[in-house]
């Protein structure tokens, strides 16, 4: 049995801890060294010299959300493919390469259908997706 200290978890945690330490250390240094002369004008959001009108927190376009949705689905697909890909070579050496290939390719081909559908329907266009669907509905 290998002691837990040899396992890879500890370095990961240490690096994350170092990031936090560096962050607060840098903040501390900046608190010590930096001047503090706050003024209202200085802390207005930068808009090239104009006084800002309204908040920047406004409603954003739905296409960002669509990109997020498509991303998550591809993300999950790639997560499922990772373990299969990492044993693909092993299976191939065991003489089960054809079987693994069929499984793998049929999985990917469904993925391709999805991307082809979105492409065909104009969901992958950044600008056109609106004009595309509007044009179709007005026809």
């Amino acid at each position: 049995m290998i002691p837990a200290e040899f396992d890879g978890l500890m370095p990961v945690v240490i690096f994350m801890g170092l990031a936090v330490l560096l962050f607060f250390g840098g903040h501390f240094l900046s608190v010590v060294l930096a001047p503090k002369k706050p003024s209202h004008l200085k802390s207005t959001p930068y808009e090239c010299g104009e006084l800002p009108v309204g908040s920047a927190w406004s409603m954003f376009n739905v296409r960002f959300y669509v990109v997020g949705l498509i991303f998550i689905i591809f993300d999950v697909e790639s997560v499922l493919m990772f373990p299969v890909a990492s044993i693909f070579k092993e299976l191939n050496e065991m003489g089960q390469g054809g079987y693994a290939l069929i499984i793998f390719l049929s999985f990917i081909s469904v993925l391709i259908e999805g991307i082809a559908y979105c492409w065909r329907k104009g969901d992958l266009d950044w600008v056109k997706s609106f004009q595309h669907s509007l044009k179709k509905e007005t026809k």
């Binding site: 954003f60 993300d75 329907k121 669907s133």
Partner: protein, 178 residues
């Protein structure tokens, strides 16, 4: 020693951030607390030795779902959710009154106790079966299971994801306003 520390800190992170998600009034801060909670869960998986599941948790939930939630909040403009009515325990009013809390507590207790009972049973019987040195890592074990025992589930999951993709595209597609 290290694993115990990691377990305790991950568990604390998970629970405290989960409480934070409920308690905080700003919805953006709720999202960030959720991020902490999900990271804590990933830490818990890592302490259990399930490295692949832990990384999947980070990849899908932290890298995907939380960003999607932030985008969804930005669809509405972000800041207008700040005033929510509060009640008992400082929780939002929409989450119920004393009666619902009482019933919820009871149900939760029963649920947890049955789960403990079940898990205790599993913990006593399974380990000899679960721990085998046939595979060099959990990843290769998962891969072999996906390709051999659960190949149908693997293939069907791609169809499920295709359905999700098409559904997402259709729902998010803009329609003409009348």
């Amino acid at each position: 020693m290290f694993l115990q520390l990691l377990f305790i800190s991950s568990a604390l992170l998970t629970v405290l951030c989960a409480i934070g998600v409920l308690m905080v009034k700003n919805i953006m801060h709720s999202c960030v607390f959720l991020l902490g909670s999900l990271l804590g869960v990933a830490g818990l998986y890592a302490t259990l030795g399930a490295d692949f599941v832990a990384v999947t948790q980070i990849m899908v939930y932290v890298g995907g779902v939380v960003i999607l939630m932030l985008f969804a909040v930005m669809l509405t403009g972000g800041k207008d959710f700040i005033s929510r009515a509060q009640n008992l325990l400082g929780l939002p009013a929409s989450m119920g009154n004393k009666l619902t809390y009482g019933v919820g507590l009871l149900v939760g207790l029963v649920f947890v106790l049955t789960n403990i009972k079940l898990l205790m049973g599993i913990a006593q019987t399974i380990p000899s079966k679960m721990i085998n040195n046939e595979f060099p890592s959990t990843v290769s074990q998962i891969g072999h299971l996906l390709v051999k025992d659960h190949v149908l589930a693997f293939e069907i999951s791609s169809v499920l994801l295709l359905g999700a993709l098409v559904g997402a595209a259709i729902i998010a597609r803009p329609r003409k306003q009348n």
